[in-house]
């Protein structure tokens, strides 16, 4: 009886495979098209008509993305805001969105970035990671990196050079932003902007459990921006709400900021601001101006 009990315990342990990695991703399936300004789903803010982007400056297209573990590429969707014919001279912000829904959900944020420093001043590139929106496949950590790099590869092919690439990561998007700035593939970003970034999967687990549990008890995710940032020498701009109820400003963002070893960095802690509210709480004008100043520095 005792042996049987031990066999059952060991057997369950060895054969069990519950991992909660997929819970990081929260894509919305089932959309049939990107609606952009016509999107009427949940949004945290909607910009007024002065932020409208002319239709000739909005391009929606597909890319082939292949992670190292894949035998065949995955088709993902991308949006470029700007004139695709002037990418060889423009400065472009690679916007890596968060873990929710799809690009429609982040469209207002991408538009705001395009207007930093003036109307349609910057090109903005955004992709739906695999499994998000119309992109094929299932979300994965490797997939995040491959999908953003597929966009960078497209930009490179369109004439973008390292010195005019600014990487922007919001929330979960801080993972591909830090990874591809720390370990560049197609292009090496000139600057890095992080809005409400993760420190690491480990910090998320320890914040919730109080005790310092090893992350491997729950997840195989290796997201570790706090370590990746140590290899990044490019200038860093960090923005974080002081009342972020999702990713604690002190245990997440501040750790990433403190670990940056580059020659220049600037921090913007926005009072009374939660995870999703930073642009409107900061003030659109302040947000746009400060990003523009940082990019031009």
């Amino acid at each position: 009886m005792r042996k049987l009990f031990i066999y059952i315990i060991v057997g369950i342990s060895l054969t069990s495979c519950f991992r909660l990695d997929d819970n990081l991703f929260d894509p919305e399936a089932g959309i049939t098209e990107y609606k952009l300004d016509g999107y009427d789903g949940e949004q945290h803010f909607v910009l007024d008509a002065s932020y409208a982007i002319p239709s000739n400056l909005v391009s929606i297209f597909t890319l082939n993305s292949q992670s190292p573990s894949e035998a065949t590429p995955t088709t993902i969707y991308a949006i470029y805001i700007g004139d695709v014919n002037t990418i060889s001279t423009d400065t472009v912000i690679m916007y890596c969105h968060g873990n929710s829904k799809h690009m429609d959900y982040y469209w207002q944020r991408a538009k705001l970035l395009a207007h930093c420093g003036g109307k349609n001043n910057y090109g903005v590139m955004m992709v739906d990671y695999r499994g998000y929106g119309l992109s094929e496949g299932e979300p994965s950590e490797d997939g995040l990196y491959a999908d953003v790099d597929a966009a960078l590869n497209w930009l490179k092919g369109s004439g973008l050079t390292d010195d005019r690439l600014v990487m922007y990561g919001y929330s979960m998007g801080s993972a591909p932003s830090c990874e591809l700035t720390s370990k560049p593939r197609s292009l090496t970003p000139a600057k890095l902007i992080l809005e409400a970034p993760f420190a690491s999967a480990a910090v998320m687990i320890q914040d919730a459990s109080v005790l310092g549990l090893p992350p491997s008890f729950i997840t195989n995710l290796k997201i570790d921006n706090a370590e990746e940032i140590k290899n990044i020498s490019q200038p860093l701009m960090w923005m974080h709400g002081t009342e972020d109820l999702f990713l604690n400003v002190n245990t997440h963002g501040q750790v990433v900021y403190d670990n940056h070893q580059g020659v220049y960095k600037e921090a913007h802690k926005i009072n009374a601001t939660d995870h999703d509210d930073l642009p409107p709480m900061y003030g659109y004008q302040n947000y746009r101006n400060n990003i523009d100043v940082f990019i031009k520095k």
Binding site: S100, A208, G212, P214, L245, F246, L247
Partner: protein, 223 residues
């Protein structure tokens, strides 16, 4: 954002299973008596518009080694499903008993240990329960109040950040219905009442933004 929180809650609420179970033994068993128990429950959380206790499970074996001391060991069955072997091993010792008032005081030191098959990480943390119980009738059903204490031995968290929560205090109250062969127990625990439950991705149900209320039931078969 709430939807994001719910999505990620699954990743994170589960972490509580590593640190949260009801009192294994409050009143020692008789000398030589054995017991096997199943425990179910966890902290209350808001999930998908309602409040639920996390359904964490564990099984326990206990044996009375003297009239005053019972040793026990457990396996956390929910943890097993995640490839983590977790146990808590300890002893309940009766410090005091007043025959006329039928009030007793027990202390239960234990060691929690967990090991995962994925990266072979190991974690150990001590725990001490102190409970005062009142026998409603001699040797029969009893109620108890006490404090469950967890101790974090590590000085630092991930990324060499200071570990500020070294001693976690969890007050508790419970009732044990004692039958000839079975005990049935319900326990309410206020987990970490001194700690803010925000910011965080888990919608813990505490009091005024502090801690989380835990609810547990146990079924114990005695031999």
């Amino acid at each position: 954002m709430k939807k994001i929180i719910y999505g990620l809650a699954g990743l994170l609420i589960i972490t509580q299973l590593f640190s949260c179970m009801p009192s294994r033994v409050v009143r020692p068993l008789d000398k030589g008596q054995r017991a096997v128990g199943a425990h179910l429950g966890g902290p209350l959380i808001g999930f998908a518009g309602t409040t639920i206790p996390m359904p964490f499970t564990s099984i326990m074996y206990a044996q009375g080694v003297t009239e005053k001391t019972t040793v026990f060991g457990s396996v956390h069955t929910t943890s097993l499903l995640f490839g983590v072997i977790q146990t808590d091993i300890g002893a309940c010792h009766n410090l005091y008993y007043n025959d006329s008032l039928r009030i007793g005081l027990s202390v239960t030191p234990a060691v929690n240990m967990a090991y995962d098959k994925w990266e072979s990480n190991f974690k150990l943390w001590p725990q001490v329960d102190v409970n005062m119980y009142w026998d409603i009738r001699p040797k029969k059903s009893f109620v108890y109040v006490g404090v469950d204490n967890w101790f974090e031995l590590a000085n630092t968290r991930e990324h060499d950040q200071p570990q500020e929560n070294r001693w976690i205090v969890n007050p508790q109250i419970g009732y044990t219905n004692v039958r000839d062969k079975w005990n049935h127990n319900i326990e309410f625990k206020y987990l970490a009442p001194n700690l803010d439950n925000e910011p965080g991705v888990v919608d813990y149900k505490g009091v005024s933004g502090k801690g989380a209320i835990g609810v547990y039931i146990s079924f114990i078969r005695k031999f």
